[in-house]
Amino acid sequence: MEGTRQKTADASTPFHKVLLFLERSSARRDITKLVYSGSLAFFLLIVITPAIAGIVAQLLTLPSLTLGQDVYARMQSAVVWSFVIGLTVSSLDILAGIPLAWLIVRRPSHLTTILDSLADIPFLIPTVALGFSILEFWSGPTGISQIFGSGSLVSPGTLLIMLLHFAFSFPVIVRVMVGEFLNYRETYEVAARTLGASAFTAVRTVTIPILRPGVLAAFLLALARSLSETGATIVVAGAFENGVVFIRNARDAGLSAAVAIASLVLIVASLLVFAAIKIIAPRFRVAPLKVWPSLERKLSSRIGVGFRNAGSLIVFLIFVLLPCLFIAFPAAESVAAGILGEALAGMGPWGKFWSSMLLSYGVALLATSVNIVFGLPVAVMIARNRFSTRMTRIVDALVDLPIIVPSLALGVSLSFFWSNIGALPEFWVLVLAHTTITYPYFVRAMAASIQGIALELEEAARTLGATPLRVFRKITLPLTRYSLLSGAILVFTRSVDETGATTAVSKVLKTAPVLLVDWIRGTVQVTPEERALGVGFLVLTSFLALVALRLIALRKPKGRS
């Protein structure tokens, strides 16, 4: 076997030359190792460490760690409520979301395609806007209360928080479950039916148990969102306090010991609950095969299915979609009231509004870029098990940390770390905080997408003579380009939307959602019209993101089956 390799590179442009040089370098193990360990170091030192170290450092530097009796009691009840609300809402979301996801996957039609897009809305509207919309819908004088003739059908407090959390966790469940159903081998279900199980029985005894890991993942994501959400929760909380509202209130009241302790408690409690659920749930055997043939047969009949579909549609419409879109009415009224010109001209409070929008998008852009550069190698590492298996496993577990831990608590830690230990200016603290908070979204999306490519494709390319960078550039990247784009957009919108950590970090600078919280809560004096329009602007930009996401998702790469 004579080597037939020839080095007749056609390096026409300088760019090409650089590329060729990089491709050749990527064949060297020490260089690939350097890239991977660099990204890993970024993840461990810049993303994860500050999230934990800040809060510990702060606790160590506080002069006194004692809390007043009443403050302690408030904190305790607030933290407990956080979990009560989170667990309740996530369970309800699972019950409501699975049938809808089912409908979307198994009854493909124009209607379900539209439903599929609509289900994303609460995920993409900034939660502050969502909170405002839900507040107006359920308890505002122009909302649903009108129909019932009462001043306020649901007043701010626990129930309204639940309604809010139900709405914004719902799309998480639908999204995850749609993915699960799409990947599911339907043969199992058909097999169950040929063995005599009615459709409902087959799903209950076969499909759901097989998809249990997916259901669990959806549940945990919903729970994390509920525990973490700050901006909107503050808006609808009224006098009620859950964990994050307590921290925010304590911060406003200058109780720094309470802020630090509550943050730590929330962080630790979240980690424990998640670990517990992750460990216990898989051991929990699905209940034995108890069957109620006549009942389940009825549920599987055409009428039963009709009722179920109608039910899940109604829940989606009344509890999720309408409250979320309700913002359109007050916003439209404001436009009709003629303040659009004022707003666009930047008069009155609008000057600050536009600069906050600019800040939001600037921070988002930077955070997104940083995450793409440093997140991509880590995504590859997780997906392809580069380095040792143990290292991959550790990183895999740590990546989710910023999602699991309530962002306000995380913000408290990050803020202390970067401004006191790192002595960074506020703007950069904001950028780094947003990088940490959004890191998991990008890495997870990319890792999943890379895992979706058959390993054989990359292997075949390598044996055809392609160096690792060339394989990545010519095979992996083109096949995941759409996930990369949608991952980036996701990170971007998450960053624009972020209120919890931002609240904790910002002292002078205010991003758009943080400013809007002030507007809605009345800390800053604005008229109701201005308030509605401000929220409207934020929603509009987010809708553009939704449209972009959809377009990307629809433009499937050529030639793929």
Binding site: A27, E456, L479, G559
Partner: protein, 369 residues
């Protein structure tokens, strides 16, 4: 000088031993088939040669040079996985040109080479199509063309025909060998199908549980298998249990169940009273309704008849309860013997191979996974 040489290669996955001290050579230009059941380590072997895996112990040599430290892209050994791994986002032509381009040939030269290879596999008319638009057989040919055009000289084919319909496989296996030979490649082709292995291979390497069971040209492996496992895997031979009764200068006799005596060759091993397995290929067993002249003539009853197109297989229960199969070619619409019919069965001692009875029992010895 051998093109590829394995010396004492061991590969473990966790606690599972995938390959156990494997040593063999592949000659330059040879077409080697690795035949073995699922889990025998076939794919691992290919991936080791490709450089996608590294051995835990031992060394691999290409043309006498060790390649353990050589990266996959520098080995000139193209891996063609089971489902072909055609790049879904590239056209057929771009797929085939991928190799030369990756090896930094000028674009025109690469595309020319790709085009020529596509003409060779008669697919240039589909050059602009995407892989998903092709039938399974066409995809297989594109994968082959991609390997042939890559500038490598070694093809590693993992079940290249496994995804195709049985009848199509029959047509394509000769074409596959012809193309590989025409292009002067060395090929290692992994399969679990014995007919496929025999029809394409210069030599067959039988693998089981990460160990070599046999290695040789197809007629030798088929006619004189190295052991019971190989006799069953590659020949589907009758395997009868017995005990050596007498051994003389020219011949031995073996005592079967029920005291039935069979004249067996004076093979290297028998000593009296040793338990043995007799392997008798089905086509060497004659059936007749009359008396026949054979070293061994036995009586039996037809139990089952399997029609297989160009031949029928008769399962005959002998008077001692053992069942023996006979393969008969060129019968017409009706089988010559019917189920339940009493027949005479005959075979010669030179067509019998004697193996020592396996220590772990016959069933265990034949288990394929």
């Amino acid at each position: 000088m051998p093109a590829i040489s394995f010396t004492n290669i061991t590969k473990k996955f966790g606690k599972v031993l995938a390959l156990d001290r494997l040593s063999f050579d592949v000659q330059n230009g040879e077409y080697l088939c690795v035949l073995g059941p699922t889990g025998s380590g076939k794919t691992t072997l290919l991936r080791l040669i490709a450089g996608l895996l590294r051995p835990d112990e031992g060394a691999i040599y290409f043309d006498g040079k060790p390649v353990n430290r050589l990266e996959a892209h520098d080995r000139n050994a193209v891996y063609v996985p089971q489902q072909y791994a055609l790049f879904p986002h590239l056209t057929v032509l771009q797929n085939v040109a991928f190799g030369p381009l990756a090896r930094q040939k000028p674009e025109k030269e690469a595309l020319d080479a790709a085009w020529k290879t596509l003409e060779m596999v008669r697919l240039s008319w589909r050059a602009k199509a995407y892989p998903s638009e092709l039938s399974g057989g066409m995809q297989q040919r594109v994968a082959l063309a991609r390997g042939l055009a890559s500038g490598a000289d070694l093809l590693l084919l993992d079940e290249p025909l496994g995804a195709l319909d049985a009848r199509l496989r029959l047509d394509l296996r000769h074409k596959l060998r012809e193309l590989v030979k025409q292009s002067g490649f060395t090929a290692i082709h992994v399969t679990h199908d014995r007919d496929e292995a025999m029809s394409v291979a210069d030599r067959i390497l039988v693998l089981r549980g990460g160990r070599i069971q046999d290695h040789g040209v197809p007629p030798r492996v088929y006619m004189r298998p190295s052991g019971i496992f190989v006799a069953n895997l590659i020949g589907g031979a009758n395997l009868l249990e017995g005990i050596v009764d007498t051994v003389t200068e020219e011949i031995s006799t073996t005592r079967m169940r029920g005291g039935l005596m069979i004249r067996t060759p004076r093979a290297p091993l028998p000593t009296t009273e040793q338990p043995v397995i007799l392997a008798i290929r089905k086509e060497t067993v004659e059936i007749s309704s009359r008396d026949i002249q054979r070293d061994n003539v036995l009586k039996g009853e037809v139990r089952e008849i399997h029609f297989l197109g160009s031949f029928r297989e008769y399962l005959i229960r002998l008077t001692n309860g053992d069942v023996i199969a006979s393969r008969r070619f060129l019968e017409g619409m009706e089988s010559e013997f019917k189920v339940g019919e009493n027949v005479t069965v005959g075979f010669d001692s030179r067509d019998i191979i004697i193996f020592a009875y396996p220590r772990q029992g016959l069933r265990k010895e034949l288990e394929i996974s």
